[in-house]
Symmetry: C2
Subunit: 148 residues, 2 copies
DNA sequence: ACAATATCTGAAAGTATATTCAGATGTATA
DNA sequence: TATACATCTGAATATACTTTCAGATATTGT
């Protein structure tokens, strides 16, 4: 996850063989290599945007957080019911809800001793719902997705 | 990421107050609480499917892997050009390509000393492309997504 | 005020992940 | 064969993440 300038021993251009009419990128000599790399750098997802996208995927990369979101998709729920429903400790649920809250994916509402959480109305949740829809569609077409 | 049965000190049902006509789930007494939890468990994403989805998101949760995928979206590339283009060490690129390969997200083709990688034609990549399309659409609608 | 309850918080422990380094493998070329 | 090169691999290090534990905070009811 570090983004420091790469300065390892292999920063020199490689010089692998290539046919002239090839569609394959080549680095026969330093100039061509540098041109290819510069061209690549224009097309590649910029680091800061890659970082932002990766942060969203990081939040979605935990099965318990996915289950929390799926539980809240139907109704607002308090911490203790979420903990019981997911068979998680209440402290663990609270920690994970804080992660979701920091990404503006859930809202909370205090009522007496309880705190009710619900899906937020945010851009991150919009994207999450779209992804979920894609998952459902893909799963219907290919029930063995990601396992076969 | 452990999925062991929860057996902590707080597994007893909570008993928070509730109004009778409430849409809010209640756990006034043990029976209602258990019913709610059982109902919840029917609606929540099952653990094994949450695990599978989380594994895909885990692969997407690293900025360098997202950048590798974006580079390969346009053309097949060898390890050294990817390393130069992304300013990563070649060993790091190789390690990450192995992760992508294990999820069947990239193919490789050996040509002499070089190994050319390209996006695979797999269900995981289909889903990745759909997610990318959603990202692009959402980003066009909301340029400040995930940061505002 | 006191006890019980629901939630939150921070530290600790265990696990997972990413990169680097050193060296191994396999290929092309002099 | 010997050298250079591209890639891979495994160990080591550093960082990040998840859960648990103990205790803090806040609210309700006696």
């Amino acid at each position: 996850m570090t983004e420091q300038e790469y300065s390892g021993k292999s920063s020199l251009p490689c010089r692998h063989s290539v046919s002239d009419d090839s569609q394959v990128p080549s680095c026969d000599d330093q100039l061509v290599h540098l041109d290819n790399v510069r061209q690549l750098q224009l097309e590649i997802l910029p680091i800061d945007e890659a970082q932002r996208r990766a942060e969203l995927f990081t939040v979605l990369a935990d099965p318990n957080r996915l289950r929390l979101l799926s539980a809240l998709a139907n109704q607002e729920l308090c911490v203790c019911d979420l903990a019981a429903g997911l068979k998680m400790g209440e402290s663990a649920v609270s920690h994970q809800l804080r992660v979701l809250k920091s990404m503006r994916m859930v809202n909370y509402r205090k009522e007496g001793r309880n705190v009710y959480y619900s899906l937020a109305d945010s851009q991150a949740i919009d994207l999450y719902k779209l992804i979920c829809a894609q998952f459902s569609t893909a799963l219907k077409l290919h029930p063995d997705i990601l396992s076969g």
